[in-house]
Amino acid sequence: MNGSPNPPQISHKRYFFEKFGITERLLERCLGEALSAGGDYADLYFESVTATALGVDEQIVKSASQGTSAGCGVRVLSGERTGYAYTDNLSPERLLHAAKTAALIASGPAKQPVQGFTEAPNADLYPVPLGGFDLDLAARLELILRADRAARAYDNRIVQVRASYSEELRRILIAASDGAFASDTQPLCRLNVFVIAKDETGTTKGSAGGGGRAGLDQFVGSKSPEHLAQEAARGAILQLGAVAAPAGEMQVVLGPGWPGILLHEAVGHGLEADFNRKKTSAFAGLVGQPVASSKVTVVDNGTIAGRRGSLNVDDEGSPTQETVLIENGVLKGYLSDKLSARLMGIGNTGSGRRESYQAIPMPRMTNTYMLAGEDNPEDILRSVKHGLYAVNFGGGQVDITNGKFVFSASEAYLIEDGKITAPVRDATLIGNGPEALKYVSMVGNDLKLDEGIGTCGKDGQSVPVGVGMPTIKLDRMTVGGTGR
């Protein structure tokens, strides 16, 4: 992906205007139609996505696919009510029809005029590729072929290797009746390696991946195909000799980086403003209260260049920002979109995101992480007499109403007398969101963000996110194994 010679804003907007014949006049007409039944606010969300995926499997480039989709969603707000309609046909007739459909959430004469558009300058967090399908496929194939070779070379017990590369270019244009006007072009790519290891004791799997909103030059160092392949292979081989995970409450040390999924599940979702506006979150009403140990500061930051969870603007056209969620253990605030900000009288944190033009935006996380503390990671491990050291995880889930969350360890070890000993088999960790972080007794100085693999689901909508954390010690957490 190369940088565009054009100033980004101009080219994002021009794409829709030229390719689909959209004009400012048409946008104003659609918004006028959307507000014709008395809505308070309306917005149009145009989206055009092109995606490409390549896969090598059993040393054969077996798959190559591409996809393209485009459409527009029209949203009308009337008090707490949302009307929504979308179309995959961007002709003026279909756009106006969608606007008319969404308008019917309100009933009455038009009361809100459409403001003139003001286009705020965008941040520039990621390179804008020239894109479309004119990709250098050979360079992308080389990444997965390198990964395949490295995984096979790692150990002769690696019996299956699959490597895949996917890349997406998402163009959006947002025009709202309050005058907000924004456009963006969002690249996202990802390299994944999946392996199977086998010996006389059994069969195991390992996987690793990395990516972000950046070009191919990001796949070096910890995201190089070789490193990712070795990580996947190492994880699988390690599992071949794993013992049963322990069962019960114990001290748990989480390694840096991706284990930050703890924060995403334990506190992140519970702090999304919609749940708190409706008072359905276990965190409702806790702003200003301690919800973690004083060593814990957690932020959500959509403004880190090149990260998977970063965005120049959210899907309502608002700039993203760094939002402090927990500061020295005290709950500071929520992640909000336009609707919740207005209804709750709080600031909009630029967290309104949606999966696609077919979906209604809602408050979502971007990159959520805990700030570094002062402890040396080795001291943290040394301080544990009997516990679990978990460094890699699969997915997690939370029930935001009772606060209970789980996340599943895929690479973890026993800690005995301050030393890392046997690797353990997969086990789920479970805790209570508003309580779990109160048991954080040590925070490492080694903050790390994940390699760019996270996808978050909420109400059936998936969006890319990031997490991060330094090494931390929890004095109490339940480990769901089968062993002693």
Binding site: S65, A98, K205, E249, G396, S408, R425, T428
Partner: protein
């Protein structure tokens, strides 16, 4: 909002013609084989919360997918642009991508004599799903939520009530002469109430009814009341100590275990060695009383087609009934054409197909055959154990069989359900868990395409306080 119910259907291009045209263009561009899918979907949904409309959504979309073969090389593409230009780009894109893939000896469409589709009326489509006028659809969502809110003073809040309807049309066409299409419909009503105890501790649960026909839905009141009962019974939940006791899985969670067996028996996982069932064909993998069937032809007791019923699979092979596990013995793997060729077997007609990419392997109506015990009898036979009604997380490793998930439910003491339980995990290994199924309920109901009666499993570990 409701007046234009079926949305874009009226002025749509004939999807079958379109799919056939895409196949023809791909062949003209030099492909040795081609396969196209076309879809058209529309949806209506209304969510209410605390008696007020929260969201109202109505729309539709279409899409095309294409898979091309150049001998043993293949590639695929998809688009939402159904204009002649869009189709041209779709074909060009797939053809160009096929130049970068390599030969795979097992790639290709099924053989010509394998194609087919069930011709009986499978009752998959009912036009009554959009028959309610708009205001009454909102009323249904409100009635469902209201019934939940009215059920008990401890129901203090709500995540809402909803009414949904959807219809879809799927078309599959290929260069070996297969063209098939079918329509489906769906209607659903649900509520998600929140109960709070005297200390303000909240619990959320929900319930729903869904059907292919509006006329077959349960009443919104019955659904709301059941949702309330489920939220209320979670109140006062606490942890229990770490221990090994019998676990009774309620049908709504037992079904996920049946789903895990399907995935583990899926041919793709088998040829990759990525399953604990690899090599287990014709061996005992479950207790003798366990029989698992995947029936893609099934009609439900109410006369409608099952949620997993279809006339043909994702590659155009006729739907059929497959006994997966019989009396505890694994009788077959579940395969599409590719997996079957990799394993030297025949497809079990389980190809699943989205718009993009290559066919996967998916189930139809997958179920564990019911036993003779009522759920009360199963619970009554447990001295001390956990009745699991909710599971959380992704802790199922199909390669090793390791299983560890967050669980909620009710504690069983002397055969009776007592207090609610939360913040514990249940863990074991699927290999052992299926052999340790010691009781099977008589309560099989098809609420979704994957269904199970109540199951009791011994030898699992609860991790808790």
């Amino acid at each position: 909002m409701s007046e234009m119910s079926a949305g874009l259907a009226q002025n749509s291009v004939d999807l079958e013609t379109l799919a056939a045209e895409v196949v023809a263009q791909a062949m003209k561009a030099g492909a040795s084989d081609a396969e196209a899918v076309a879809r058209e979907d529309d949806e209506f949904s209304v969510n209410v919360r605390m008696g007020e409309v929260e969201t109202l959504k109505e729309s539709g979309a279409r899409g095309l997918g294409l898979r091309v073969f150049f001998g043993k090389r293949s590639a695929s593409a998809s688009t939402s642009d159904l204009t002649p230009d869009g189709i041209r780009q779709l074909v060009q894109g797939a053809v160009a991508l096929a130049q970068v893939t390599e030969e795979d000896a097992f790639a290709g469409l099924p053989e010509t004599d394998e194609f087919g589709a069930l011709t009986d009326d499978l009752h998959l489509y009912y036009d009554d799903v959009y028959s309610l006028p708009g205001p009454e659809r909102i009323e249904w969502a409100k009635r469902c939520e209201a019934a939940a809110l009215a059920a008990d003073p401890r129901i203090t809040n709500s995540d809402g009530g909803s009414f949904d309807a959807a219809t879809g049309r799927k078309v599959l066409a290929n260069s070996r002469g297969f063209v098939g299409s079918y329509r489906t419909s769906y209607a659903g009503v649900s509520a998600a109430p929140i109960a709070a105890d005297e200390n303000g501790a909240m619990q959320r649960d929900g319930w729903w009814s869904s059907a292919r026909s509006f006329a077959l839905l349960e009443s919104p009141e019955a659904v709301g009341k059941e949702a309330a009962r489920r939220a209320l019974r979670k109140l006062g939940a606490r942890r229990v100590p770490t221990q090994q006791v019998p676990i009774v899985f309620a049908p709504e969670v037992a079904r996920t275990l049946v789903g895990s067996i399907f995935e583990a028996a899926s041919g793709d996982a088998i040829w990759r060695h990525a399953s604990f069932l690899a090599g287990a064909l014709e061996t005992e993998i479950a207790a003798p009383g366990v029989t698992i069937v995947d029936d893609n032809m099934m009609l439900l007791a109410n006369g409608a087609g099952g949620f997993g019923t279809s006339p043909f699979d994702g590659e155009g092979l006729p739907s059929r009934r497959t006994v997966v596990v019989e009396g505890g013995v694994l009788r077959t793997y579940l395969m599409n054409t590719y997996a079957a060729r990799k394993l030297g077997m025949k497809s079990t007609h389980n190809a699943s197909r989205g718009l993009a990419g290559t066919p996967g392997i998916g189930c139809g109506n997958l179920y564990l055959e019911p036993g003779t015990l009522s759920p009360e009898e199963i619970i009554g036979g447990v001295e001390k154990g956990l009745y699991v009604t909710g599971l959380m997380g992704f802790g199922t490793n199909l390669v090793t069989g390791d299983y560890s998930r967050g669980a909620t439910g009710l504690w069983i003491e002397k055969g009776e359900l007592t207090h609610a339980v939360e913040e514990v995990t249940v863990a074991g290994n699927l290999r052992a868990m299926f052999k340790n199924i010691s009781a099977i309920g008589n309560d099989l109901v098809f609420r979704t395409s994957v269904a199970s009666p109540t199951l009791r499993i011994d030898g699992m570990t609860i991790a808790g306080a």
